[in-house]
Amino acid sequence: MSAVSGSAADIRSLVAEVPDPEIPVLTIDDLGVLRNVAIDDSGQVTVTITPTYSGCPAMDAIANDVRTRLAAAGHLAVEVRLELSPAWTSDWMSTAGRHKLRNYGIAPPSGRASIRAETPSVVPLTLSVRCPQCGSPDTGELSRFGSTACKALWQCRACREPFDRFKDH
């Protein structure tokens, strides 16, 4: 295989397209899971990712997908690092990611989780969550936990449809 060159920015744009294995409508960049991409003079690529939740089972799959995608572009010396700090927050989800999520049928996070976390003494008031199907704000939580660590199960009282909500975290 011929030597491949590429700037960190080029490599980042390749890695940025890796989809999340559990919510494939989002990329790891949309999620804020992709933290950094670096390449040194010898061509060694280091990709730094962070888990959404401590037990997120998607991290190993993401690491494999990153390596596979880079290998296809000729980058074979790749290290994927898992970084815990600073801790991921749903506020890192991009605006584009929020739109994609809503169109996919999952209510996006508010983007204000950190503000609420900074005032833990206040009983958290749930901000109105809009139904991703009909747009009504008349919705309620059915279950605080859902099909993945990052989602809760909600239902719309207007159109009666149940839907996933990406949790504020």
Partner: protein, 276 residues
Amino acid sequence: MTEPAPTPVTPTAVTPTRDPRISYDAGTYALRLGDDALVLAQRMGEWVASAPQLEEDVALANIALDLLGQARPLLSYAGSLLPGADGAARSEDELAYLRDERDFTNVQLVELADNGDFGRCVARLLVFSAWQQELYASLAGASDDTLAAVAAKAVKEAAYHRDHATQWVLRLGDGTAESHQRMQAAVDAVWPYVEELFEPDAVTSSLAAVGMAVDPASLRDPVLGYVSAVLERATLAVPSTRVRHSGGRHGIHTEAMGHLLAELQHVARSHPGASW
């Protein structure tokens, strides 16, 4: 194209050289916190497909997964600081699957069997998550980078678990006469195991002195304050028992522990080195 062999995803880099005594204590401390999370993850996993409702199966499985996720970097870190007899770092899997009961250093609270009693599951989760939330909130500011990173990430998860347990205790305690009585019995059953969470010893004292650990005794007031307030709102009595069990931090466990480890470790021990 052949898949590249998966390289293990590494936790945050280990702090390099430090006093060997401090390293040993830090490893011991990480092992304790990792064992707490691992053993409770195993206990909560037992509820999958047996909880009172489908949503609760999902909830308890999610909580167990968070705890397992917390246990992994803690055990990896402990394994790097407490090498095996050959001097090599021990992996998270070695620590989880190949240690015997006396080498586990979790508090007894997390190993107690629920025996299908959902009240006990919820009572234990209330106490444990309230403790973990306070612990991690303090530990996030610790001078040990790895412990601080794990704590800063996990504190939000612990807070969510605590909210979940709180809602159930309120609902069951302040529910029907039957649910009230059973929730009270569950709290009473768990209570003798609570004080162990707050016991300091030489390890925590030496680490707390250099800002690397949280003094367990400092957590007692905020944790019991939170739990007591929830019990009161739930019309439940704070137990007055003076019975207290402990010893988990030093490898002394209850009868339930051996059975738990048998299930946790059986596959890994029967098929050494197997992967899938």
